[in-house]
Amino acid sequence: MIKVEQINKSFGKVKAVDNISFEVAESENLILLGTSGCGKTTTLKMINRLIEPTSGNIFINGQNILEQPPEELRRGIGYVLQNNGLFPHYTVAENIAVVPQLLKWDKKQTDKRIHELLEKLHLDRSYLNVYPKELSGGQQQRVGLARALVADPPVLLMDEPFGALDNVTRAKIQAEFKALDELKRKTIIMVTHDVLEAFELGDRICLMDKGKIVQCGTPAELLFHPKNDFVSGFLKEQRLQLEFRAIKAPQPPPNGGEVPDMSLWAALEQFKYDGSKKENQAEFEQLMSAFYQYKRGQPHE
């Protein structure tokens, strides 16, 4: 779907992005992870040409984006910013309708789509004629997401989308984000410096440092087959939490529920409220043994 080939970006003498290549499969969620200044945001912004690469090529669906008119390219890519970037002089409805307006949709179609998205993102209709500054941070971020999704673009770029939120709001929005069916079909590239978020939301993670990709792989690959000390060092702090997130719950899930693909962490989270019940005890032990089993199967660090 998206193919990045040996791109470089220099700002004067500083090499911000140094010969990076990666591919993102359709409806995959790729995370660019790293500390600030590692070049992850620059890489992201080159995909919708907010920044032009010094050299290299980027293909979306086999088409070289550098040969496309940039405005047209961007209208087909959703973009979510850290501080939402909502237009303060536009109402919520007008903000969401920006891209449809550029694409010259008729009003009825736009309105229908806006209402659909509001429902999916748990935003009340009464917010439509309200200005962004009257909303809470979480609501603003939802509107920002709605604006990016409104034209149903196949590709979504997200620059630290939850970075400016408080912990409680962030956890809530992350959960909604994971549950949103609309996002499951999309090819997403997301930038974050938050390791837990990367493990929670990413199908694959590219860990970056000093403008280069250090390792690209699934969360489990990064955790249990780190390429070098930098990778293991980067993940060391919250190791246990990460392991729970990286390891898949045994199939079928212990309680026979319908959730087919769930991390161990997510499975454990289901005990949050009814952990006191007796029958859960057995399931809990089941999960734990699955965890040990997986661990034993891995080469020891």
Partner: protein, 523 residues
């Protein structure tokens, strides 16, 4: 105080036609120039917001324009654009540019980078980003710039009357020349009210909420054009010849008022400053002007004085007016000042004025040459028995006289002398004298009579334009009322006069003011 207010209202009521015309012209001038300034300043501001390299240069130039004194800027405009509204509008436009360019630049560069990035990332083109995001978001800042420019323009537009562009300055400067406080206030109060009103209205627009701001921004150009058109409303009449009169002449009984009542003269008149009037007549932008009979430019520009056959211009014999306590303080002063008495007649004065006004010789040199030729000049004694302060009005003749007096005082007495030249108009000069800012200045009998003493019309008529009667009347009047003494007349009579280009007067066969009236009424 109550009586004063009464007469102010009376004056405004009596002059309400003129007041309305001037107010409309004032609003018109302000907004034509403002409209043009927005047309130029807004794109320039946008340009320098895009090309940061240009910003220093453009803001620098606009800043320099802003620092040029307004009178000087108007002066620069005359050789390029002549007189009338054109140079006034251009000058006002230049003043309005800086706040508009600067605020547009500040507004646009101040838009949050994240919002601009979002706009780009949504797929907006550069034009769409400008019109949909940058301009709306910077509108409050841009409006603040327009607001500043408006207030500046309302103020500077008062000066437009100096170059025949009309506006409330006609009353203000006419009033200053005529020593008529009511007239000054009749111009100054509406001008101040206009500034306050527009400032208030624009502040309301500036603080509208975002939704209403969109409508207001769309309505603003229309409103600007509407207000601009005010300027043209009063100009819908004309006549065969155009007269240019100074603001002072416009309001005087022995000026335009007399021309209207005694001669019944009806001529299309514009108000213009003395400084550019002669040149404008020479360049055929004006046909009839109100000048002074001893003015050097009369000779320089080949103009001819129309005979005042009904005698409405009273004699204007020049003589120093001195505060009585200054004469007491400087006992040698009177004797010294009288050295000049009877030495300068009309043609000598015209010649001297010609040398300063047209040949651009310094008044100091002209004064010294004259004194030397008449064996009056003596080297300065550098005395230190006190300093005599000499005043003068703001034209060449007065500069020459002030310099002569200064040299005489320094040469014949033990006093030192300083000159305070360029006191604009009779009122300022006379107030300086009564308030002990100067000790004496050369004044004219007619001015003393009509502008300062302002006796009832009957008294003026009884003097019958007689030279000696007028002199005696002002001498006793000043003594009684202000304790100021008129010394002996210098000799020349710098009376008001109507003048035309010699050639045109010959062709039209106009020799007297009655001839002029007859010509205007023919056909």
């Amino acid at each position: 105080m109550n009586e004063q207010q009464q007469t102010l209202w009376g004056f405004m009521w009596q002059q309400s036609d003129k007041l309305l015309t001037q107010t409309l012209q004032h609003i018109g001038l302000t907004f034509i120039s403002l409209f043009l300034a927005v047309l130029i300043g807004l794109p320039l501001g946008i340009l320098i917001a895009r090309k940061a390299k240009l910003s220093g240069t453009v803001l620098g130039i606009a800043g320099v324009l802003q620092t040029i004194p307004s009178i000087a800027l108007l002066g620069f405009m005359i050789p390029l654009l002549g007189i009338g509204p054109k140079p006034a509008i251009v000058a006002l436009l230049l003043y309005a540019l800086l706040p508009i360019i600067r605020n547009t630049y500040t507004g646009i560069t101040g838009v949050d980078a994240a919002i601009k990035e979002a706009a780009v990332a949504m797929g907006m083109t550069k034009g769409q980003i400008l019109t949909k995001v940058e301009l709306p978001l910077s509108m409050p800042v841009i409006l603040a710039g327009i607001r500043t420019a408006t207030v500046i323009n309302v103020g500077v537009a008062t000066l437009a009357s100096y170059i025949a562009a009309g506006g409330l300055g006609e009353f203000i400067f006419g009033g200053i020349s005529l020593n008529n406080t009511n007239m000054i206030l009749a111009g100054a109060i509406p001008a101040a009210l206009l500034a306050i009103l527009f400032d208030f209205l624009l502040s309301r627009v500036q603080h509208l909420n975002l939704k209403k701001l969109k409508t207001a921004t769309a309505a603003l150009p229309l409103l600007l054009i509407l207000l601009s058109s005010f300027y043209f409303i009063p100009n819908a009449y004309g006549s065969k010849l155009t007269a240019g009169f100074t603001p002072e002449f416009m309001g005087r009984q022995d000026g335009n008022l007399g021309l209207q009542t005694k001669y019944g003269l009806k001529i299309h008149t514009i108000v213009i400053s003395d400084a550019v009037m002669y040149k404008a007549a020479y360049e055929k932008q004006l046909d009839v002007i109100s000048g002074y009979s001893t003015d050097g430019r009369l000779k320089a520009y080949d103009l001819v004085v129309l005979r005042d056959d009904k005698g409405i211009f009273p004699p204007y014999y020049a003589a120093p007016v001195v505060r009585a306590d200054a004469l007491k303080k400087f006992p040698d002063l009177e004797k010294t000042l009288n050295l000049l008495s009877g030495k300068i007649n009309d043609s000598i004065m015209t010649e001297l004025n010609y040398r300063t006004d047209y040949l651009h010789q310094s008044p100091e040199r002209v004064a010294k040459d004259f004194l030397t030729a008449n064996n009056l000049w003596k080297p300065a004694r550098n005395g230190n028995a006190g300093t005599v302060r000499i005043g003068s009005k703001i034209f060449g003749e007065q500069y020459i006289l002030a310099n002569m007096y200064s040299m005489l005082i320094k040469g014949y007495t033990g006093y030192d002398a300083t000159t305070k030249t360029g006191l604009g108009g009779t009122k300022i000069c006379f107030d300086a004298l009564t308030n002990d800012q100067i000790d004496f200045y050369p004044e004219y009998t007619g001015t003393g009579l009509l502008a300062i003493l302002q006796p009832p019309a009957k008294t003026v008529d009884s003097l019958g334009g007689d030279k000696d009667k007028t002199y005696n009347y002002v001498q006793t009047g000043f003594q009684k009322k202000y304790n100021i003494k008129w010394l002996k007349p210098i000799g020349f009579n710098n009376a008001y006069a109507l003048m035309m280009r010699q050639k045109q007067a010959k062709v039209l066969n106009i020799k007297t003011i009655t001839d002029l009236k007859r010509y205007l009424e023919s056909k």
